[in-house]
Each structure stands twice: as structure tokens, then as C-alpha cells.
């Protein structure tokens, strides 16, 4: 490992809670709820150019029982809402939700009878990401917000959490 060499015989003092949160925030396994076109940007977010494995979230789980974070990526219709909710219910606690794109956040350009005007009408959302679709940078930003949230709040009851809104991509210095 090499860690032994760096650390020598020394040790680290911390709180158990904080150690657990540190583990949790660096291994957020997403459940890709790729309902429509935002899913393409979600794939870019996962693959080599943007490489979400830098944040420990490369393990996309298609089984909700192994996932911590649901990325709802795409237009959610009333018919699909029941499926999204069912999958959300199957995820074990603690769990988090990103509403990716304007369709999931507010219905977006689909101001119509068939599209749910914001998925927060039926599941609690932690981070809303604007954009149509949002760039992968923006989604990474949202993931970092989730990480900060885990660090700050830990795995408290999901519906008590306060949502975060992201409407601008983070500034990137090269």
C-alpha cells in the first residue's frame, strides 16, 4: 500500500461518526435513473473525460439495493413517476437524490398534462441541477454538493434535509 511508509508507527485520532461520513462521502454509488436525454450527459460524467471515479462514484449500480444516490436524469411523466418512486423506495437508507436538468427540477419546457412539474412532488430532492441538459461539470458539482452535505449532516433522515439549487456551472481554472 505504501501508506505504512508514510504514516510510520503513528496513528490518527478522529470521531467514529466522522470516519464513517468520510467513507460514505467518498463512495457514493449512483443509481442511474436515466429516463431521457440527460442520461447522455450522465454517461459522459461517468466516462473517461470527466471521470467521476475521481470522486469515488464510478460504481453505477443498476440495482437500487446497492445504491446510495439516485440521479434522476430526464423528463418524468406521471406514468413514470410511479416507477421512480418504487425504485427510490427500494434503495436502502441513507440515500440521496439529484434532480438533473430542468425537466426533473420543474417540468422545464414540458409545460403539459403528461409531465410532472418537478419530481419534488413525489420524492425528496437534495440537489437540483439546472440546464438542458446540464454539462457533466455541473453534475460533478452537484455530486460535490452531495459530498459536502454528507460531511456536514451525515446520514440523517432524508426528508429532513434542506435542498441545494445549482443553476450555474462551477468556474473552472485551467
Amino acid at each position: 500500500m505504501g501508506l505504512e511508509k508514510a504514516m510510520g508507527d503513528s496513528f490518527v485520532v478522529t470521531k467514529l461518526n466522522e470516519a464513517i461520513r468520510w467513507c460514505q462521502k467518498n463512495s457514493v454509488w449512483p443509481q442511474p435513473m436515466g429516463i431521457s436525454c440527460c442520461a447522455i450527459e450522465m454517461m459522459a460524467f461517468a466516462s473517461s473525460r470527466f471521470d467521476v471515479s475521481r470522486f469515488g462514484s464510478e460504481v453505477f449500480r443498476f440495482s437500487p439495493r446497492q445504491a446510495d444516490l439516485m440521479i434522476v436524469a430526464g423528463t418524468t411523466t406521471y406514468k413514470m413517476a410511479h416507477v421512480v418512486r418504487k425504485i427510490y423506495d427500494q434503495m436502502p437508507d441513507p440515500k440521496w437524490v439529484i434532480a438533473m436538468g430542468v425537466c426533473t427540477s420543474s417540468g422545464g419546457m414540458y409545460r403539459t398534462y403528461s409531465v410532472v412539474q418537478g419530481i419534488d412532488q413525489f420524492i425528496p430532492v437534495d440537489v437540483y441541477v439546472g440546464g438542458c441538459p446540464p454539462r457533466p461539470d455541473n453534475l460533478i458539482h452537484a455530486l460535490m454538493m452531495i459530498q459536502k452535505k454528507i460531511e456536514r449532516e451525515g446520514s440523517k433522515e432524508h426528508h429532513q434535509a434542506q435542498p441545494i439549487f445549482i443553476d450555474q456551472p462551477p468556474t473552472i481554472s485551467v
Partner: protein, 189 residues
């Protein structure tokens, strides 16, 4: 133009069924009598010369609002007020809906369109799903969106909307944002 030839042949073969033939930008549209549409379609498919062997689409249309009249804007502003309809529109309720068939001949690489009118309630259109298999889901879509019923369809269920949904969303008198409570959401805990 094989489509023109098809119109001529239809006039010859079904003199009572063909109501009108019109042309727009070299596209032939044949209006036929609703009850005869399946026979017309079988003829177009099986005729040696024509061979319209493919149904590209079967689609519904709602003519509740007459195109180009001022009633249109009033009506959309107040979709529940049925009194806005003029007398002309009341008469047209006997032909409120249309079903349009877009047929293609793989031999001639040409299209022909058929149109039938359907009354607001009670009238059924003979299904062409037994003629072309591709018409099956297209007719289900027209049923789902407009409530046009097809007689002799093997499996006339909704396609897009949930099966418990009671309305027909592409009708002109259906409000844009839907009818509150008609599509339930799961409970938020």
C-alpha cells in the same frame, strides 16, 4: 404518378365511396366514405398495379375548431365554454374527427393519403389493422389521444396514457395542463 392513378382507379372501382380527390404540392389526398375504408385499403394493397403494401401512419385529427376562423382564439382562451361554437361548428360535429391514412408503395416509392371523417360520438371506423400490421399501434394511438374507436381492431387499448386514465388529451377541448386529479402521483412521505 402512381398516386394519381390510384385515385382514378378508386373512383372507377368505388364510385360511391370516393367523396373527393385533392392535391397539395403533388401529394394526393383521397377522401373516402368512413364505412368503406377497409375495402378501399384492401384494394390499394392487393391491386397488381398499385401495391400500396405499407401503412406508414394512421393518425387522428380533431376539427373542433375550424381552421382560419376567429372562433379558434376564443375557444382556446376558454376551453370549457362550449357555447362559443358557432352554428357552423355545431353542424360539423358530425364530422368532428378525421382519420388520415398515409400509405406507401415500396414498388413505386410513392405515397398516397386517405382521409375519413368521424362523428363526435357513436361512430366507429373499420380498423385496417388486419390489412397492415403496422396500423395496429397507430390506431391504438389515435384511440388513446382522440377516443376514436376502431371496429375490428384486435387489441384496442391505450398506448401512452395509463389504462385508468379517462380523458383523451389531444382533443381540442382538453386543457393543456390536464385535468387535476386525473393522473395520481405516488405519495411523498
Amino acid at each position: 404518378m402512381i398516386a394519381q392513378r390510384a385515385a382514378e382507379k378508386l373512383k372507377e372501382r368505388f364510385p360511391d365511396a370516393v367523396l373527393s380527390v385533392s392535391e397539395f404540392r403533388e401529394q394526393i389526398l383521397v377522401q373516402v366514405e368512413t364505412s368503406t375504408v377497409r375495402d378501399v385499403c384492401i384494394f390499394l394493397r392487393d391491386d397488381e398495379e398499385l401495391q400500396f403494401d405499407m401503412a406508414i401512419d394512421v393518425l387522428g385529427a380533431d376539427r373542433l375548431v375550424v381552421e382560419g376562423t376567429s372562433e379558434k382564439a376564443d375557444y382556446i382562451n376558454d376551453p370549457f365554454d362550449r357555447q362559443i361554437r358557432s352554428k357552423k361548428q355545431e353542424i360539423s360535429m358530425n364530422e368532428r374527427f378525421e382519420v388520415i391514412y398515409v400509405l406507401y408503395s415500396n414498388k413505386h416509392k410513392e405515397y398516397v393519403r386517405l382521409k375519413v371523417s368521424v362523428a363526435e360520438s357513436g361512430q366507429k371506423v373499420p380498423s385496417v389493422a388486419p390489412v397492415w400490421k403496422s396500423a395496429n399501434w397507430a390506431e391504438r394511438e389515435a384511440y388513446d389521444m382522440f377516443g376514436i374507436e376502431f371496429e375490428g381492431h384486435p387489441d384496442l387499448r391505450r398506448v401512452y396514457m395509463p389504462e385508468y386514465f379517462e380523458h383523451f388529451p389531444l382533443r381540442k377541448d382538453f386543457p393543456l395542463m390536464g385535468i387535476p386529479g386525473s393522473l395520481p402521483l405516488p405519495d411523498k412521505q
